[in-house]
């Protein structure tokens, strides 16, 4: 874990994705969730030798397919046509989720509605009356990988913190999130609590003021 740092401006989405990509260990097996996390793949370097898993049955997924490479039978979990890298492999759905649930993936990066200070994740259902629920692989992804990282905006449109004491949205998985990347700060959650690794466009003190939980300043 790098030292505590601070920048004057909030992070752009690409900057967030770049930081996540840089934190992924060399040679890791990684699942990138739908939405913002997918963008992380654009910042992984060849030297990192990261292998991407897609839960619909593939390891060694390459970039999004374009032009003649588009093949309706080669898609990612977001149903977008992708490509195959040398050394890829295909497997059926039960094997694919066994790979995830069995703890074989090093990192899974997901979006979130809320994360609690205990690392509980809410990202599948708003709980709004009348909303039709849909879970997909969210609950499997949340608890399957060795580490689950979240990318999200830190505040709601109304300005409320999405890093909370306790979830108010329905739970996706308990105690599973170990890092949160936001435009304003990067957090690490472990036994000692919630540590702020960096702040962006906000000071540690301002952040501590706005968030409803106790924060540790990174060393």
């Amino acid at each position: 874990m790098s030292e505590y740092t601070s920048t004057d401006a909030a992070l752009s989405r690409d900057e967030m994705a770049k930081l996540v990509a840089a934190d992924i260990p060399a040679g890791a097996f990684v699942n990138l969730g739908i939405g913002q996390p997918t963008n992380v793949s654009n910042f992984l370097t060849t030297e990192q030798g990261v292998t991407l898993h897609t839960e619909n049955g593939m390891l060694g997924m390459g970039p999004v397919a374009t032009g003649e490479d588009i093949d309706g039978e080669l898609i990612n979990a977001g149903k977008i046509p992708v490509t195959e890298l040398p050394g890829a492999s295909y497997f059926h759905h039960a094997d694919s989720f066994a790979m995830m649930r069995g703890g074989h993936l090093d990192v899974c990066v997901l979006g979130a509605f809320q994360v609690s200070q205990e690392g509980d994740l809410a990202n599948w259902h708003t709980g709004a009356p009348g909303a039709i629920p849909a879970v997909g692989g969210a609950m499997d992804l949340a608890i399957g990988a060795k580490q689950t990282w979240v990318m999200m905006g830190l505040f709601t449109k109304a300005g409320e913190s999405k890093l909370v004491e306790e979830l108010s949205y329905p739970v996706t998985g308990l105690g599973c999130v170990s890092r949160i990347y936001t435009e304003s700060a990067i957090f690490v959650i472990d036994q000692s609590g919630v540590t702020v690794r960096s702040t962006h466009g906000i000071t540690f003190e301002e952040l501590a003021e706005r968030l409803p939980i106790e924060l540790i300043r990174g060393a």
Binding site: T54, G57, D71, I75, Y90, H93, R101, A134, L174
Partner: protein
């Protein structure tokens, strides 16, 4: 028993009757047995319980079965999509039952049915509303939910190629639910691009052994 080779999708699904539970392969369009689903639409069977990852998209396939109220229950992981309007309408009207299952539990429950497992403890969904009413257990400090097998009367799936004994190979991510669904149904109906002679598939590369396949039908190759 070597599989029956049907001459049309209609003939292939002709045994599916009112009240059947049907596993339907596919994830998005990949591996979706479109022609068999269309034939199921035409054959008139109703009161179906359908197991699929989704609950129909746009105005085709499973979505039409739902539109026509031929499906009484859907077991799936992701019903709501931008183009799941027929499901949304049926659901809001209270005219279709939904059993929502996390995708990995859905796959493992189908596999369990085919493998003769009576139930299993899975960490997925522990502590969530999808575990409500289910037995839970903490094993070595980790929470698990007891999930039960999902077996079916029929599976309709798509593979790339079969031999005359029903051995199957798939293509890329179109494999998805096919191999496990074939094991979990009393009768598996499979559409393929091509049927070759027994011995033409390398025994090392067979993904679904023919023991799991009851009916084959050739549908013009997709690629």
């Amino acid at each position: 028993m070597a599989p029956r080779i049907a001459t049309s999708a209609a003939e292939a699904v002709s045994g599916i009757h009112d009240g059947s539970t049907v596993l339907i392969g596919g994830f998005g369009n990949a591996g979706q047995p479109m022609e068999l689903i269309d034939a199921l639409m035409d054959c008139g069977a109703t009161d179906l319980t359908v197991v699929n990852n989704n609950a129909g998209q746009a105005d085709a396939g499973l979505a039409l079965l739902i539109k026509e109220r031929r499906v009484k229950k859907v077991i799936c992981s992701f019903p709501r999509q931008s183009d799941s309007w027929h499901f949304d309408e049926a659901y809001r009207a209270g005219e279709i039952e939904l059993e929502l299952v996390p995708q990995g539990n859905l796959a493992e429950r189908i596999r369990a049915a085919g493998a003769g497992i009576g139930g299993f403890f899975t960490p997925t969904g522990y502590g969530t509303m999808l575990a409500e009413g289910k037995e839970t257990r903490v094993i070595d400090g980790k929470g698990y939910v007891l999930e039960t097998p999902i077996s079916a009367d029929f599976a309709i799936i798509k593979a790339q190629r079969a031999d005359t004994l029903g051995n199957l190979v798939y293509r890329k991510t179109a494999r998805n639910f096919g191999p496990i669904m074939a094991t979990a149904a009393k009768k598996s109906i499979v559409q393929v691009s091509e049927i070759v002679a027994a011995g033409e598939l390398d025994p090392e590369n067979v993904i679904t052994p023919g023991i799991f396949v009851d009916t084959l039908v050739t549908i013009g190759g997709t690629k």
